[in-house]
Amino acid sequence: MKSIGVILIAFGIGIIIAGILRGYVSDTISLDSYVESSRPVKILEGIWSPRKVYLNIKVYGGRADILLYSNGAVLKIWNNTFGFIDRVDIASRSYSYLLIIPHTKINRISHKVTFYGVEKDVLINGFIIMFTGIIVYIVSSIRKKSSLFAIILFILFGSISNFYASPNWFNPGVYAKYKARLEDGFILFNNNTIIRGNWSVYIYWECIEVVNDDIARLFINITLVGLDNTSPTFSCTDYALLNISSRKVFHGNREVV
C-alpha cells in the first residue's frame, strides 16, 4: 500500500511538472481563410485547452456578430464588429468554437489565436493524484486499525452535514407546501401592530433559480386563513435567498431562518 502511495505521489508530481512546463510554452494558431458567405461560419472548432487565450480576429468585407461557444454555452459575444483583439479564459477542456454571423456578405476571415498560461485541469489532476497518494501513504502507515477507523468516523461526522445539506436535486422548479394550525397566536407587523387570533397557515416555497453552488433564490408565499371572525385572512408573497449548504434563509440581507 505504501508503494502505491509513493507511486501516486510521484505520478502526481510528474503531472504537475509537465503542467508547469507546458504552461511556459505559448502556442499560436493563425490562419487566413476565404469564406464568401453571408451565412454563419464556424471557425476554430475543436476541444480547447483550459488556458488563457489571446484572440485576434479580423472579418473582411462586412460586419459580423462573433460568438465564442464553449461547452455548449456562449462564453463571450462581440457584436457588429469588423474584428477584435481580446483575451478570454477558458475554464474547462471542452468542445468550443467561434461562430461568425455576418450582417452582410463577408469574403475573408483571418485569425491569430495564442494559448498561454497553465492548463488548469492538468494542474488540478496532478494535485488530486498527489493528495490521493499522500492519503494512501498515511493510511497505510497507521499501524493500529482502530485509529484508522476513528479517523474515518471523524471525517465522516465532520462532513456529513455537507453531504446532507447540499442535495443535487435542488434545482429550479423544486417546491414544498406546508400547512399548520396557529391557535391563539400572535402576529407582529413592521409597524408594531399585534394581532391575536386563530389561523390555518399555508406556506409555499419554490426554487426559482440556483445562483451558484451555494445560493438559490426562493419564491415564498405565506397565506393565513382566519378561523373565526376576529382573525383576518391575509397573504404575503416575496423572494428570499437560501444558502443551500448551511440552509440559512436571507431576506433583504437579513437572516430570517
Binding site: 507511486i7 505520478f11 510528474g14 503531472i15 507546458r22 502556442d27 480547447w48 485547452s49
Partner: protein, 248 residues
C-alpha cells in the same frame, strides 16, 4: 509464498521509494509534456492526432526508460552477483530460474506501470479510444524487448558500472539503428527493424478496408515476430546462463 517474499526483498533491494518516485515522476512528466496538441485546440481527427502525439510521447519517454531499465537491471543482477548477495537469496527454497524470473517479472511490471499510467492519463485529455490500445501494445512489446535485453546484458557483464553503461549504450544503438539504415538508403529494412513503427503500422492496418492484406503488406508481422522472438530468446538464454552460472 516464497515468490512473494522474493518480490518483497527485490523491491526493497533494487526498487525503493526514492527510485520509484524519481522514475514515475520523470517518466510521466516527459510523456505528458510531449503531448503538445492538447495544449491548444484538438481538431477533428483526435484518433490520428493522439497516435502521433503518443508516438512523440513514448519517443520522449524512451530515453528515460532506457536509462532506468539499464539502472534497474544492473542494480538487480550485476550488483547482487558481484557483491555475492545473490547467494544469500538462493538460501531460500527457490530454484534459480524462479529467482531470475521473479526479478524480471517485478522489474517489467513496475516499468510497465510507469509507462501505462501516463498513457491512461492521456485518455482523460484525448478521450478513450482504440489509439490508446495501439500505443499500449507497442509499449508492452518495446519494454519486453528492453528488459529481456538488459537482463541478458547484465548477466553477461557482472561489473555494475560496465553493465549499466553497456546496456544503456547498446539500447541506444538499437533505438538509433533504424535511423542509420534510413540514411544509408535501406528504407525497407529500416522500417522492419524499427520497433517504433509498430504503433503507426497498427494504425494503418486498422484503418484499412482489407486489414489482413495491409498487415501482411506493411511487414508489420515481421517486426512483431522479430522483437517478440528475440526477447523470448534472450529471456530463455538468461535463464540458462543463470542456472549454470558459477556464483563463487
Amino acid at each position: 509464498m516464497e515468490i512473494l517474499k522474493i518480490f518483497r526483498l527485490e523491491y526493497d533491494n533494487t526498487w525503493n521509494s526514492k527510485v520509484i518516485g524519481i522514475f514515475f515522476s520523470i517518466l510521466s512528466a516527459a510523456y505528458i509534456y510531449s503531448l503538445k496538441s492538447s495544449a491548444t485546440i484538438l481538431m477533428t481527427d483526435i484518433y490520428a492526432i493522439y497516435l502521433f502525439e503518443a508516438l512523440q510521447g513514448y519517443m520522449a519517454s524512451s530515453i528515460v526508460l532506457v536509462v532506468f531499465v539499464s539502472y534497474i537491471f544492473s542494480k538487480s543482477i550485476s550488483r547482487q552477483i558481484s557483491s555475492g548477495l545473490i547467494k544469500t537469496w538462493l538460501g531460500f527454497p527457490i530454484k534459480r530460474k524462479h529467482l531470475l524470473i521473479s526479478k524480471f517479472v517485478l522489474g517489467y511490471t513496475l516499468l510497465l506501470i510507469g509507462e501505462i499510467m501516463p498513457i491512461i492519463y492521456s485518455g482523460f485529455i484525448y478521450g478513450f479510444h482504440i489509439g490508446i490500445l495501439i500505443v499500449l501494445f507497442a509499449i508492452i512489446l518495446k519494454l519486453f524487448f528492453y528488459t529481456s535485453y538488459s537482463m541478458f546484458f547484465c548477466l553477461m557483464i557482472r561489473d555494475v558500472l560496465a553493465s549499466f553503461a553497456g546496456s544503456l549504450l547498446s539500447l541506444y544503438v538499437v533505438e538509433s539503428f533504424p535511423m542509420f539504415l534510413h540514411t544509408l538508403g535501406f528504407d525497407d529494412i529500416a522500417n522492419i527493424v524499427d520497433i517504433n513503427n509498430i504503433a503507426l503500422g497498427l494504425y494503418k492496418v486498422l484503418n484499412a478496408k482489407k486489414w489482413f492484406d495491409t498487415f501482411l503488406e506493411t511487414n508489420l508481422w515481421l517486426t512483431i515476430i522479430i522483437y517478440l522472438g528475440v526477447s523470448i530468446l534472450l529471456l530463455l538464454s538468461s535463464i540458462q546462463i543463470f542456472r549454470k552460472m558459477d556464483l563463487d
